[in-house]
Every structure is written in C-alpha cells, then in structure tokens.
C-alpha cells in the first residue's frame, strides 16, 4: 500500500470514528450543531479524498449521504432516531466500501445490495423532508453547500522536486476544490518548463496561481492539500490583500507578469466592492517594499521573506502539531533504545572497574540522558483510552436496543494513557464484558422497579492509573453474579466437585473457565459460554489480571489491571540463591531486612509482621525450588503491592534500580508462573522479571486454602 493510500485509510478511519462519536453524542445528549457539523465533515472529507484515488463507488455513495447531511445541517431535514440509525449503518457501509477499495477487491453481492438499499433510504430521507434538496446528482453544488460569506482566495502553489513520485495527480486535488467552492481561474506558471531536449519527465516545472471563491477557511483549504503537503509549497491569502500580493511577487517574481498578462488580479478583486485602492493596482508597480506584516488570515507552508529583505523572517506555520508515523517505525526506535539500555548497563559495569571520576561522571550522565530518551520514546506509544472507549458507546447502544433495555452508559478517566498496542488488544474483551453486563447483569425494567432501582440501568467504564499499572473497571448496577448458581453449574459441568470449598471470589472467577455459562437461553449477544474465557486469555496475553467485585442484588464490577507498557520498565535488581531477578519498580512499596523475629508461620503459611500488620510472605528460593547453596551476609524482604493486595518476597542480595528491557521468554519458560519475562544485564547475565500479580495471587490463594 502506498504511503498516500495508507494515509487515506487512517484518515478515513478517523473520520468515521468522529462520525460515530458525534452520532452517539446526539443520541445521548440531543442534537447540536457541532455534532452535525462533524458528521457532515466526515462524509465530505471521505468523499473528497476518495475522489483523489478514483474510488468512485465511495464517492458516489458518500455524495448522497453528504447531500442528506447538508440538508440536516441546514435544518431542512430533522435528525430523527430513525435517521441516526440510518446514518450509523451508512458509516458501517462506508467502512466496508473503503476496505474493499483499499484491498482492491470487487464488492460482494451483499454489499452491492446493501449499497442500493442504503442509497434508497438516504434518498427517501432527503426527498420526504425537503423539495429543494432532491437534486442528488453527482455534480457538485457548491453554492448550496456553502452559504456563508465567501472570499476569493489566492492560492499560489509550487510542486516540489519529488511531487510526481508520490503518485498523486494534482488534477485530482484541483477537482476536489469543486466540492468546497468555485475555481474562478487557474493560471499555470510555465516559465521554467524547458524544451524537450533538457526536459526531465518526472520533474515538476509547472506552478499554479489559483483564484478560488469559497466560504471555506484557510484551514479548510489547506486540508485539501493534506495528502501532499510535504511535497508542495503553498501560499494562501485573501485576494483583496494587496500586501500579501506584494509579498508573493517579491518571493515569486514570475507571478506579476503572468497575472498581468491574464488580467486575473483585477478580475479577482472585482468580487469585492470594498477593495479600496487595491482594485486597480498596476502589478508591475507593486513590487515595492512594504513594512506591513503578514496578517493572521494568511497561511503559508513556506516562509515569505520580509519586505525589506534585510533578513529572512520566518512566519510561524499554522500547521497541525500531529504527525502520523507508521507504528512499526516507532517499534524500530524502541528496539534501538532497548539495545542502548543494555549497552549502557555494560558500560556502567565496566566503569565501576576503573577508579576514574571522569569516566564515572560521563557514564552517569549518559545513563540519565538515556533515561530521558527512553521515557520520551515510550511516551510516543502512549495513547489516551478515550478514543477507544468512545467507540464502545455504539456497541452498548446497539445491545441495549436489541434487548429493549434502557442503559445509562458513562465513561470516566478517558484521559488515562496506555500503550497503544495494549489499547488495541483491549477492545474486544471490553466489548464482550459490556455485552455481558447489559445482557446478564442489568435486569429488565419490571425487575428493577420491583427491587427499588431506577428504571434505567447504569454501566460505567472507567480507567485510572495505580501503582505503575492501569486499572480498567466495568461496573454495573444490575443483579450481580449469583455465586450459588455459578457453583452449582460448575459442579454440574465437573469443573469442581461438591466437596470443594471455594471462597465466593474464587467461585465467581469460574465464569472465566472455557465453556462455562449460566445463561438459560442462548442469544446472539451472550450466553454461549464462548467469550469470558477468551476475555481472560486476552487479558492474560497483555500480562494483565482480571478480578471481580460482586455485590449480589446491587451490581458487579470487573477490574482489569494492566501493565503501563510492555517494552522497557524501571526495574529493581535482586538476587535470590543463584538467580538474579527483577521487580517492576512501581510495584515495590518498601524493602526491609529479613529477621526471624518478625516472621511467623501459621497453618503452613509464612507471614510477616510489618509494623503490626500481617502480610503473606513468599520465599522465592523455595517457590522456584532453587537448591543451589549460595551464602549471603543478610536476607531482605521486598514488600510489593498489587491493587489492594500486599505481600513480602524474601530475597538475598539487593543491587538496586535499573532500566529493564523486557525480553520475551522462550517457549519452554513462557508458562512459568510468577515470571513475566527476562532481561539481559550489562554483564551479559540473564535476570528473570517477576510477574508480581501472579506471585501475589499465589500467596493469597495459598493462604485461603
């Protein structure tokens, strides 16, 4: 896929996401102009950019949707519940059209039929409510779309060296102008086109001066060039701005002759009666210095030198502060930083051997810089969960509608940041859990009213950081899990025996067992017993944990704890027996010296008396059956915390903090409980990284038993 096509794909996905979010906003908070504008812009942008790639099926379909949305925008058509439903289907359909176009696969019969049906529905919606909007031919009607005050923009465009090699045809871009306004004139600047003998067919010689009548803003016009902005030089200003024209002519002298020859400037200015003395400016005379600065309604992708020519005055470019980067490129960067972390650890080790202050200081300084570099690089991968969460609103709405339940779905902590790869893999488990909450958790209206609850069920999805982890909760105010029913089903299915004694929490966790379901009826939403086990598998694969906080009759809360990132962590290096281990630094609460006096054994479990509080204690050598005899002058206890749980881990030597590059373990060790990965130390030794949640879970369950 070409870079431009990839960009189109990403942008279209974003636009459709905005559209869905705006529609859901309207569903939840009522009609508002901003949301309607966002929906219109999404269709409008997709139509325009699809046209640049000759994706005619998308252009034709989105054109109809765009016309309807324009009528909605102009309040000629009311945005009813049925129309919102139709627009959501429209969004889904455009998504499929884009997928097929990018994959270059023909549209299936199903899609074609749906295309036809949706077109008809969109046209019906348009025709039944507005006579004036019934013209939905493919021809653009800019004057209908943009009724606000119009400006004649002067667009001066030059193509950079590699423009043609991008594969984009500037004619497609010009074609798109028609959807935003009216091109009064395009004046090609051909002065530099050589004769054939010195002509390079792939070099762009031509330039353009364009006069464009539109109510669009400079930012809107710039968006047209978004796909090629790296390969063009663009200056845009209002054509009645004679100061800018002077600046342009100083920068591009060829413009003066061309404009005068074509009498274009006068023609363009004629659209504005209030041009003052600018309407008859002799273009050959305006190439004179001016001390006026560039006004704020001007955009330029290149810098215009100041008029006096004393020094180049760069104008701040009003460009987007976001840059789309292929995720794989970031991974390459992270891998390189990871290798640097390992190499740095080696350098630090070597520097310890020499009593050289300069070397030590330089090494320390390098380590600090590397810390900062690592944080900066890792931060690139972090994204707010908000966007991902917002997409779930549609799922919740669909399921609630299907089940005839009224749900108040709210999202909290959307600004919480999480590694992008984790966020992407989280989507499916969250969808499934939300469906389950609505289907099994939230009672029907009658039951809720009978139990003194409000008619509308509540489902909250929230995220927040905690102890180096990210917590994601799904909480409902439904009936809660029926622990006794779960136990009975588990016995019936042979998952446990009738004699097994399990805590309520452990019993509830059986719902994550493959094939487990208590649903009496199987629906297409949930109840097939396929899903919660997959949810757990997905969470496990992300090195996360899931817990259930259940309140029978009052509701249920699923708590997912996820690591902040998966690549490089701040670690704390220790040794126990013959093996070196690393604790994730964020999970360490404190370190205390081991003393027999502060430890007690109750019922076979070792406990630590920490200032009057008893904590479960784990002897790591015993846990991993490390029998190799290595003597240390003292032992230590590392107190770790995970969620609301605490435990102590007995180790021998403490080495301290260090950046830890997480390396996956080989197949043989991948399933060793209590170990989440490995890391290569500066000495070349391997250290194992503790999976603290797994260790705590082990000691807690051991205690409970």
């Amino acid at each position: 896929m070409s870079e431009e096509l990839e960009y189109f794909h990403e942008d279209a996905k974003d636009q459709l996401g905005f559209m869905e979010q705006a529609l859901m906003d309207i569903v939840e908070h009522g009609v508002n102009d901003e949301a309607i504008g966002a929906i219109f812009r999404a269709m409008h942008t997709i139509k325009g950019t699809a046209g640049m790639f000759d994706f005619n099926a998308i252009v034709a379909f989105t054109h109809i949707a765009e016309n309807l949305l324009d009528s909605v925008r102009q309040k000629k058509v009311s945005l009813t519940e049925a129309l919102i439903e139709l627009l959501l289907h429209t969004k889904d359909h455009v998504e499929e059209l884009i997928h097929a176009a990018i994959a270059d696969i023909p549209l299936s019969q199903n899609i074609l039929e749906r295309d036809e049906n949706l077109r008809r529905s969109l046209l019906d919606a348009l025709n039944t409510t507005s006579d004036s909007a019934s013209d939905i031919s493919i021809e653009h009607h800019p004057s209908e779309e943009f009724s606000e005050e119009e400006t004649v923009w002067h667009i001066s465009l030059r193509l950079k060296e590699d423009f043609f090699k991008t594969g984009m045809d500037i004619l497609s871009v010009f074609d798109f102008f028609g959807s935003m306004g009216e091109i009064i004139t395009i004046l090609p600047i051909t002065d530099t086109i050589p004769t054939l003998d010195s002509f390079d067919p792939l070099h762009p010689y031509i330039g353009f001066e364009i006069f464009f009548l539109s109510s669009a803003s400079i930012a809107d016009i710039k968006e047209i060039f978004e796909f090629v902005e790296e390969d063009i030089e663009l200056i845009i200003f209002s054509s009645d701005d004679t100061v800018q024209l002077k600046n342009l002519i100083i920068l591009r002298p060829e413009v003066a002759g061309a404009l005068e020859e074509a009498s274009l400037y006068r023609s363009a200015l004629a659209h504005d009666d209030d041009t003052g003395d600018g309407s008859d400016i002799p273009l050959t005379a305006i190439n004179e210095p001016s001390s006026q600065s560039i006004p704020s309604n001007t955009t330029q992708i290149i810098a215009i030198p100041n008029i006096k020519g004393e020094e180049s005055e760069k104008t701040i470019l009003p460009k987007s502060s976001f840059l789309r980067v292929d995720f794989q490129k970031i991974d390459v960067l992270i891998n390189q930083v990871s290798e640097m972390v390992i190499a740095n650890a080696k350098i630090a080790l070597i520097s310890e051997k020499y009593d050289d202050t300069d070397l030590e200081e330089t090494t320390a300084s390098l380590s600090e810089m590397l810390d900062n570099l690592r944080d900066a690089v890792m931060n690139i991968r972090m994204v707010q969960v908000e966007e991902s969460f917002a997409k779930l609103r549609r799922n919740v709405s669909d399921v609630a509608k299907k089940l005839g339940k009224s749900i108040d779905f709210s999202i909290a902590g959307g600004e919480t940041e999480l590694d992008k790869s984790v966020v992407e893999k989280l989507s499916d488990p969250l969808i499934h859990m939300l469906r389950n909450s609505i289907d099994h958790g939230i009672e029907n209206k009658e039951t809720r009213l009978a139990s003194g609850k409000s008619e509308q069920g509540s489902v909250v999805l929230r995220a927040y950081p905690d102890s180096g982890s990210i917590i994601i909760e799904i909480e409902d105010d439904g009936r809660g899990l029926n622990t006794q029913l779960i136990r009975n089903k588990a016995i019936e299915k042979g998952l446990i025996s009738a004699q097994d004694v399990l805590s309520d929490e452990m019993t509830n966790m059986l719902i994550f067992h493959p094939g487990f379901t208590t649903a009496e009826t199987i629906s297409d939403i949930s109840g097939r017993g396929v899903g919660m086990d997959v949810v757990k598998q997905n969470i496990d694969a992300l090195k996360g944990r899931i817990n259930i906080v259940n309140r029978i009759g009052e509701g249920c809360k699923f708590v997912i704890t996820l690591p902040l990132t998966l690549a490089i962590i701040d670690g704390f290096l220790v040794q126990a027996g013959s093996t070196k281990y690393i604790f994730p630094q964020d999970m360490i609460q404190e370190v205390v010296e081991f003393s027999q006096h502060s430890c007690v054994e109750i019922g076979g479990s070792l406990l630590l008396n920490l200032r009057g509080e008893l904590l479960p204690l784990l002897d790591i050598k015993h846990y991993f059956k490390d029998t190799e005899s290595v003597s240390f002058p003292r032992q230590n206890i590392v107190i770790v915390r995970y969620g609301s749980y605490q435990a102590g881990v007995i180790v021998d030597e403490l080495f301290g903090e260090q950046q830890t590059v997480v390396k996956p373990l080989g197949a043989l060790f991948r399933k060793v409980p209590g170990i989440s990965g490995g890391s290569i130390l500066g000495s070349g030794e391997i250290a194992l990284i503790f999976d603290i949640p797994a260790l705590i879970s082990y000691v807690i369950q051991n205690d409970k038993r």
């Binding site: 043609f164 594969g167 045809d169 500037i170 004619l171 010009f174 074609d175 004139t185 395009i186 004046l187 090609p188 051909t190 086109i193 050589p194 004769t195 054939l196 003998d197 002509f199 067919p201 792939l202 762009p204 010689y205 031509i206 353009f208």
Partner: protein
Amino acid sequence: MKLSIQSLTIQEVEKVHETLMAWLLDDPSEGVLDLGSVERIDMCGIQLLLSLKNSLNEMGITLHLSGLSSYLVDSFNLSGCTPILVSHNE
C-alpha cells in the same frame, strides 16, 4: 504524428518523451500531434505537452493538438492549460 497510446500519465511519460524527441529529430514541420487514442492524462502528461510546445516554438513551428476528447479538454481546463495548448489550435 499520432500518439498511439491510451494513457499519457506518469507511467508512460518517459517513454512518450523519447517518442516525441524522435519526432522532433524526424519531421515535425506540420506540428500536428494526434491525441485521438489518449483516454487518460495527468499533470505529468500535460507538462510534457507544454515542453513539446516550447521545443516546436523554438523551431518556429506551432503545436496543433488534434483528436482531443472531451476528457482531455476537461483535463486541460482543470489545469488552466487550455489557453496555452488548445485555443490557438482548434
């Protein structure tokens, strides 16, 4: 000369450049380029025609484009090149 290609875009422009160079060396005196079979053109192709026009001008020959489809005329219009490439010819 008849340009026997369906498409005059970035994919073909280098080859067509060679063809036109050969034409200039041969006998371009009539200055007529038949684009009757060209169904598709992009800015690369239009730019090549502008360069051809410059070469012929140097030789004192006026370029005449013939066989223009409405698609080609639309493309010239869109690029603003119609006055340069077409108005004096057709």
